[in-house]
């Protein structure tokens, strides 16, 4: 029996307007409290109150006008106070569903669901806010239905794919048409967990902290020498700003845990705002292992990946997807190997740039190296931040070689292996001319081979 669509609209949590209440309103009201007390209900305070009331009213109306439905093959979200917007998200196109809990929401036990459909344009839609438990259940239900729709194939039956297919085969309740949530899956295996002490030290040993300390010291010295306290005044907001940025980075990485789940790598992190994201392994387009200079004496590194179709970035510290903000190098490399389907990118022999590259890039030429084989194209470069980029051959989008006039005189050229949007950028800088063309032709051949192998199913999913 096919499932009836979930009848009727569903609402978000009634606490949503409270959580969404603009901080500005609260701040303004809070700030003007003194004037209320001293001046009484003058015209200015009435205006402020009116604005606050309008804001709250808007929030309530917005909540009333927001509803969502779960149909057979799509999720429909209607929003909008003045201009109505109806967004439909195809359930079988859902790449992932993230659960995010900003601080205010967390205080009330609410969570936001963010949908990612690999359209590359950021979030396709979100439901904010639902009670946390309901959000978790809804997420599981949607993903289950997605797997069922995908397994169900062309006829698009929401459930009823033959048993044995992943995620399908759960019968729907004949009365209400609900698909019951699956039995809780086995607890995911934790692959890496960020140690708090390590995070603290790594945050302290970051460039921004260095700038802060040096800048602060310089300003203090100057103001002491010249005797003018003016500098101290300008110093304070700068310190606060920088300190805030540092705290945001810290709080975004707090409690970072990477686990292995059925959908891929599950990343949970956050101090004030809890975020849980999923990175499906087949969509990983490459990894970057970075080692800033200040971490190198301790052997720490960061692991980032490029994930196809996700442009999510709430915190500037997490541009692509960070798989591990800081960790011992061995652990980072192990996790990188895991993300790349079990193959070891460090086994690719690296060839350094020719000596005359010094004349093209005197400061960094000695750090440049490149290598490729049938599995990966890898490159290493940089001193301030030593980065090791890995692009699986099957994920290469295009290959370029570029030669500027200065390089021409030195008979050098730069080869760039293009990966999809993200941080990964494998580059063979300042290589010998002849070698460059050979590299380009070779990568073209090998990536073609890898693509063919992938489409014929001969390669492990991680390298597809």
């Amino acid at each position: 029996m096919s499932a009836a669509p979930d009848a009727g609209a569903r609402r978000l949590s009634p606490l949503t307007p409270v959580v969404r209440a603009p901080i500005v309103v609260i701040a303004v009201v809070g700030g003007s409290w003194q004037t209320f007390l001293s001046n009484g209900l003058g015209p200015s305070s009435l205006v402020v109150l009116a604005l606050a009331a309008a804001g709250i009213l808007y929030g309530i109306v917005a909540w009333l006008r927001t509803a969502y439905w779960i149909h057979d093959d799509e999720l429909r979200i209607d929003t909008g106070v003045v201009s109505r917007q109806s967004r439909r998200i195809r359930i079988d196109r859902l790449q992932g569903v993230d659960i995010v809990q900003p601080l205010m929401a967390r205080l009330f036990g609410l969570a936001e669901l963010r949908f990612d459909t690999a359209s590359g344009s950021g979030r396709e839609g979100s439901l904010a806010f639902l009670p946390h438990r309901e959000a978790v259940a809804l997420r599981a239900q949607l993903l289950l239905r997605r797997d069922a729709v995908r397994a169900g194939g062309a006829d698009g039956r929401p459930d009823g794919g033959p048993d044995g297919r992943s995620g399908a085969g759960l019968p729907s309740d004949p009365v209400t048409g609900e698909v019951p949530p699956a039995a809780p899956p086995a607890p995911p295996r934790v692959l890496a967990k960020l140690d708090l002490g390590l995070l603290l030290w790594a945050t302290i040993l970051s460039p921004i902290t260095l700038v802060l300390v040096l800048g602060g010291a310089a300003l203090l010295v100057v103001s002491w020498v010249t005797g003018a306290p003016l500098f101290a005044g300008g110093f304070v907001p700068a310190v606060l700003g920088a300190g805030f940025a540092v705290f945001r980075g810290f709080s975004a990485a707090y409690g970072f845990t990477v686990s292995d789940s059925a959908e891929g790598l599950a990343v949970r992190r956050g101090l004030t705002a809890l975020t849980s994201q999923t990175v499906p392994l087949p969509r990983i387009q490459g990894v970057v292992v970075s080692e800033p200079v200040m971490w190198r004496p301790f052997g720490w590194a960061r692991l980032e990946v490029s994930v196809a179709g996700s442009a999510r970035s709430d915190d500037s510290t997490f541009s692509a997807a960070t798989l591990l903000p800081v960790g011992p190098r061995a652990q980072v490399l192990w996790l990188a190997r895991y993300a790349l389907g079990g193959e070891d990118p460090t086994s690719v022999p690296l060839v350094p740039a020719p000596r005359r590259a010094r004349y093209a890039a005197p400061l960094s030429a000695w750090t440049l190296a490149y290598g490729h084989d049938d599995r990966f194209a890898v490159s290493r470069r940089g001193w301030w931040t030593r980065r090791f980029d890995v692009a699986p051959q099957g994920k290469v989008q295009s290959v370029r070689v570029r030669r500027g006039p200065w390089q021409r005189r030195l008979r050098l050229a730069t080869v760039l292996v293009d990966s999809p949007v993200g941080k990964v950028a494998v580059q063979a800088r300042h290589r010998d001319e002849q070698e460059s063309r050979t590299l380009v032709d070779d990568v073209v051949v090998r990536s073609r081979r890898a693509r063919r192998a992938a489409s014929s199913g001969r390669v492990a999913p991680g390298l597809l």
């Binding site: 099957g394 295009s398 030669r403 063309r437």
Partner: protein, 168 residues
């Protein structure tokens, strides 16, 4: 001719297919137009605002003329060096006068193909074919294609792209 014989930017097989010289006409026309506007503004500024003498204005004009001549020549050079070659599995494009590049784009990696033509290009009957992959770094465009050739290339690329489509 495609500039000096250069192994690094040699075509994968046979020869590079050239773009139409009408591209040079189009680019030169728009460059000259911009320079004319710039000249008028500059002369106006020098003469009326700064009250510079005739000598200064003349020098400025001569400098602009020299610049115009250089731009004219440079555009010709760039257009001469633009080439493309359709291989079995990839499209190769080479371009650049000062900074030369060569890009190899597999057909299966194409996300979509644009054909664009500004008003000047349309008047001259040429268009630009622009390929996009999932990588923002892939700058694969071929301007100055005669309209039929642009259409043919676009159709061929679309057809090959679908035939060899590789998932992400």
């Amino acid at each position: 001719m495609l500039g000096s014989v250069d192994d690094l930017f040699a075509p994968p097989q046979a020869d590079w297919q050239r773009v139409s010289p009408r591209l040079a006409t189009s680019r030169r026309a728009s460059a000259m137009l911009m320079l004319t506007v710039l000249a008028v503004l500059l002369v106006g500024f020098l003469w009326f605002v700064v009250d510079a003498g005739a000598a200064v204005v003349a020098t400025a004009l001569v400098a602009l003329l020299v610049l115009a001549a250089f731009v004219w020549w440079f555009i010709g050079r760039v257009v001469r060096r633009w080439g493309y070659a359709e291989q079995a599995e990839e499209l190769y494009i080479t371009r650049g006068a000062l900074v030369r590049t060569l890009v190899a784009v597999p057909y299966g990696r194409m996300q979509y193909v644009d054909v664009e033509a500004g008003p000047l290009d349309r008047m001259l009957g040429i268009a630009t074919v622009h390929l996009h992959t999932a990588s923002p770094g892939t700058t694969a465009l071929v301007p100055g294609l005669v309209a039929e050739e642009a259409a043919r290339l676009r159709d061929r690329l679309t057809e090959l792209g679908e035939a060899r489509a590789a998932g992400l």
